[in-house]
């Protein structure tokens, strides 16, 4: 008799080639698997061994060696090996050693044969995948750090510890203590599992559905919301939990988890595995992996008590930027991380401002504009920001408070390296500090009566994000703008015209056209002639498709989904933006490392020929994209 092993099936199902197989197949395989544990350093296979199974790395990592002892490949969770020997029927040509503590699922030869014969996708995978995966593994190994490539699931050490909403606070605390955890997932009051029965219970699935989770309680809550407030310990834990916590998918990268934590200023995040609760990760775990990265900087931002102390962190920001670049992080990772740093500076400065001027008299939201809102910030950018005030704002009563607060933050930002904005798009400017309704009116005016000149400078307002305070107001504004802009062809046409102003530096014969004069003679400005016009083009498409995303890569996705771009055009845009961005970022990192102040000007002559060619390709994409919007949004 065969019994289904849920855990085995669930894991196989997440990895190629098994993820392509029908459910019955997975059940069949999971019931036939054999398992063995290999301590780090121990042999899994020797050259000449008879191979009787396809091996699947369930956890840990192995290295595959040639007969010569030379390393051939490194495999991790979800990878398979042994297929070659099984297909050829010859003894192992490679030896395999566990380099971490490793659990291997062995899929017996008979099962492998039937899969190979009957499942097209499986056969293709084992035939082809060997070589391509090798290439991938080699490049990954050479460059990326664990932090950039590690999945969130790797950091989850225990299944989630849960209690129901009506559990007494005291019992919840006891549960935390005995399980030695510092957070509890709170579940809705026991749903009527009694009557439902059903196949779910029968198959014995014990994973809890996301929908049953209503909150989370942390040890910090126990201190801050219970002890400090003298709350009765027999109240239900529901009263002190954080409702509907932000969660993350088990397959997300660690750096994404970190960004979520930083963005939302939470230290514990529930991890979901395809809609089921998988565990919890906490900031301390994530940070313990790396101390030199941007997150470490972010954490220390919140520990500084004055502008001077914040200023002292500047070298660390530069170091973490350089480090990410050296670790070959992509532009999205770097842009998000540096934006997170900037956002944290704002949040901390606002906190310091509250200490100095007292709590805000009405709720407000501090807006990030431009590159920070797009999560595309790099080092030493200008500050572009604004403030949305609650509609109850009374200029006479509350005006002076917000003026002081805004000045304090903008001056502080300038101190910590964010230059004042030349266009004065800053919260310290009274014009960009107003109630939500007034903002809506302003946007309405821009959209209904577009003027090229005004929009040229004002495009920065069409990349906006809540950086601190009541970010819901920022979200409301985003939704408003997306809805109105998408319905105004005149506005889109005007924006599209502006997006063609800055042409890529390509001549008639696809040669670089270099700056003719000034300090940057014989160079190309990668921002002005590259990333900025690309971002402009992408913004037009995004607003046309009513996308509320701010990040350019996300906007491209939204645009494709809305049918405004073909996936081929989208892929070109994405590649062009990534390529120019990363060349620009590397150029800046090199300057920082050399102690020079970074700029955006590169001399193409100094680029390796391959990169030079790719850069031309990227500029060609931009040129075509500009022609396309000209035709597409004619008003």
């Amino acid at each position: 008799m065969e019994v289904e092993q849920i855990e085995i099936r669930n894991h196989l199902q997440q990895h190629l080639p098994f993820s392509e197989l029908p459910d019955e197949r997975l059940e069949e395989i999971s019931g036939q698997v054999e398992i063995a544990y290999f301590r780090a350093g121990s042999k899994v296979f020797s050259v000449g061994d008879r191979v009787t199974d396809l091996s699947y790395v369930r956890s840990g990592a192995v290295e595959v060696y040639r007969r010569s002892g030379e390393i051939y490949n490194r495999l991790g969770e979800g990878d398979v090996f042994g297929q070659l020997a099984l297909m050829t029927g010859k003894p192992a040509r490679f030896s395999v050693r566990a380099i971490e503590d490793t659990l291997i699922y062995f899929i017996p030869e008979a099962v492998f044969r039937s899969l190979f014969d009957e499942e097209e996708s499986f056969a293709e995978f084992v035939e082809v995948e060997d070589r391509t995966r090798l290439r991938q593994a080699a490049s990954e190994q050479a460059t990326a750090s664990e932090f950039m490539t590690m999945k969130v699931s790797k950091l989850v050490r225990l299944p989630p510890i849960t209690v129901t909403e009506e559990t007494e606070i005291r019992q919840a605390a006891a549960r935390m203590a005995e399980s030695q955890v510092s957070s509890l997932i709170i579940l809705a009051s026991d749903p009527a599992r009694d009557s439902s029965g059903g196949p779910e219970a029968e198959s014995g699935s014990v994973r809890i559905d996301e929908a049953e989770m209503t909150g989370i309680v942390t040890s910090e809550d126990m201190v801050g919301r219970v002890l400090a407030k003298g709350l009765a310990h027999d109240l239900p834990v529901r009263d002190v939990m954080t409702r509907d916590p932000i969660s993350i998918d088990a397959g997300a990268f660690l750096f994404e988890a970190l960004l979520i934590m930083l963005r939302n200023n939470v230290h514990y995040v529930p991890v979901l595995d395809r809609g089921k609760l998988y565990g919890v990760i906490d900031l301390a775990d994530v940070l313990s992996l790396e101390t030199q990265n941007s997150l470490f900087v972010v954490r220390s931002i919140f520990l500084q008590n004055s502008v001077e102390e914040l200023k002292a962190l500047l070298p660390n920001v530069g170091a973490s930027f350089v480090r990410m670049v050296n670790e070959d992080a992509n532009s999205h990772m770097i842009g998000s991380a540096i934006a997170a740093v900037g956002r944290s500076f704002k949040q901390r400065l606002l906190e310091l401002g509250h200490e100095r001027f007292g709590p805000p008299p009405v709720p407000y939201c501090f807006l990030a504009l431009g590159s920070m809102a797009r999560d595309e910030q790099i080092m030493y950018s200008d500050q572009d920001n604004a403030m949305v005030l609650h509609d109850e704002f009374d200029p006479k009563l509350h005006g002076p408070y917000f003026k002081d607060l805004a000045n304090f933050v903008c001056d502080g930002l300038a101190e910590v390296g964010y230059r004042y904005c030349k266009g004065d798009f800053m919260a310290s400017n009274k014009r960009w500090r107003k109630p939500l309704q007034a903002w809506k009116d302003e946007f309405e005016h821009w959209i209904q009566h577009p003027k090229a000149e005004a929009l040229l400078h004002g495009s920065v307002f069409f990349d906006l994000d809540g950086a601190a305070g009541e970010t819901r107001m920022a979200d409301e504004l985003k939704a408003f703008v997306a809805e109105r802009a998408s319905q105004s062809p005149r506005f889109l046409a005007c924006l599209a015209r502006n997006a063609q102003n800055r042409t890529p530096p390509l001549g008639f014969f696809k040669d670089f056209v270099l700056e003719k004069s000034g300090r940057y003679q014989q160079t190309v400005n990668l921002k002005r002639r590259g990333t900025a016009p690309l971002v402009d083009v992408i913004r037009v498409h995004a607003l046309a498709s009513a996308s509320q995303s701010q990040n350019s890569f996300r906007r491209i996705e939204d645009t494709v989904a809305a049918g405004f771009l073909t996936s081929g055009m989208a892929a070109d845009l994405r590649d062009a933006l990534e390529f120019i961005s990363i060349i620009r970022i590397r150029h800046q990192a090199a300057a920082i490392e050399a102690g020079r102040s970074p700029d955006n000007n590169i001399d193409p002559e100094y680029l390796p020929s391959l990169e030079r060619r790719s850069l031309k390709d990227a500029f060609t994409v931009l040129s075509n994209a500009q022609k396309f919007i000209k035709f597409r949004y004619r008003g």
């Binding site: 063995a36 956890s59 599992r193 439902s196």
Partner: protein
């Protein structure tokens, strides 16, 4: 980490299971138990590498074998070299004692499931067949053996005895050697309290074994089998005689 030194005390006091099985075979009043004992057990001298094991896990309605019943049994046969899922077994059972709401919440097996489930008596021949000749591996021996002893006595008029290896106790030995503080905490946890599966998860974590969902008898049995392979790999050796770890 070096393998554990052989403890003389333990060797002397380790039970002589082949002898016990011979005696129990003679005393058995029915064919089921007689056959079970007749299939014998390996001797205590057998190196762990050569021992056929079976990881066993029960989910119950509570912690007390006299008051609570068995709702499911999972078992997975294995050796040090391989865990064999193809031979694993899993039964949901109708307990003779009522199922509390609390245990429903833990195991997610409902009254409805149980109404359709067989009584342990019906699957006892299969269960004993799967266990016979193999050494049971459990995580916390205070549970599986007393519950099975009681359940078999109720159905056959005679209890059952068999050797077990307790992965929790193997883990406790490490704690004992490491630091006293954690040992005290460990035993404090043992006294009168359900050794939650979380402890199984925590033990597994030490060996970098993956995270599995808890409270499913088959998954927990699999989890214990993997844990034992890891414990032997790290703390004992394939040549360690069985008597050093069985009870």
């Amino acid at each position: 980490m070096p393998a554990l030194k052989r403890s003389r005390l333990q060797s002397v006091h380790a039970p002589d299971w082949p002898g016990i099985f011979k005696r129990l075979e003679a005393e058995a009043t029915g064919p089921l138990l007689r056959d079970f004992y007749a299939r014998g057990t390996v001797s205590g001298d057998t190196p762990i590498a050569d021992v056929p094991f079976v990881a066993l896990d029960l989910e119950t309605t509570g912690m007390n074998a006299e008051r609570h019943g068995i709702v499911s049994i999972g078992l997975v046969p294995f050796t040090l070299a391989r865990i064999r899922c193809a031979e694993s077994r899993y039964w949901v059972l109708r307990p003779r004692r009522p199922l509390s709401d609390a245990s429903i919440a833990i195991h997610r097996i409902t009254h409805e499931d149980l109404r359709r489930a067989p009584d342990l008596g019906e699957i006892l021949p299969d269960l004993l067949d799967a266990m016979a000749g193999r050494i049971a591996v459990v995580h916390y021996r205070g549970l599986e053996r007393p519950f099975l002893r009681r359940a078999v006595r109720e159905r056959l008029g005679q209890g059952i005895e068999f050797p077990v290896v307790d992965t929790m106790e193997l883990e406790a030995r490490v704690h004992r050697r490491w630091k006293n503080g954690s040992l005290a905490r460990f035993f404090a946890g043992l006294v009168g309290r359900h050794p939650e599966s979380i402890r199984l998860a925590q033990s597994r974590q030490r060996y970098h074994l993956p995270l599995y969902g808890a409270h499913h008898a088959l998954t927990d049995a699999l989890a214990s089998a993997e844990l034992m392979q890891a414990q032997i790999a790290w703390r004992f050796s394939p040549e360690t005689p069985l008597r050093e770890i069985w009870h």
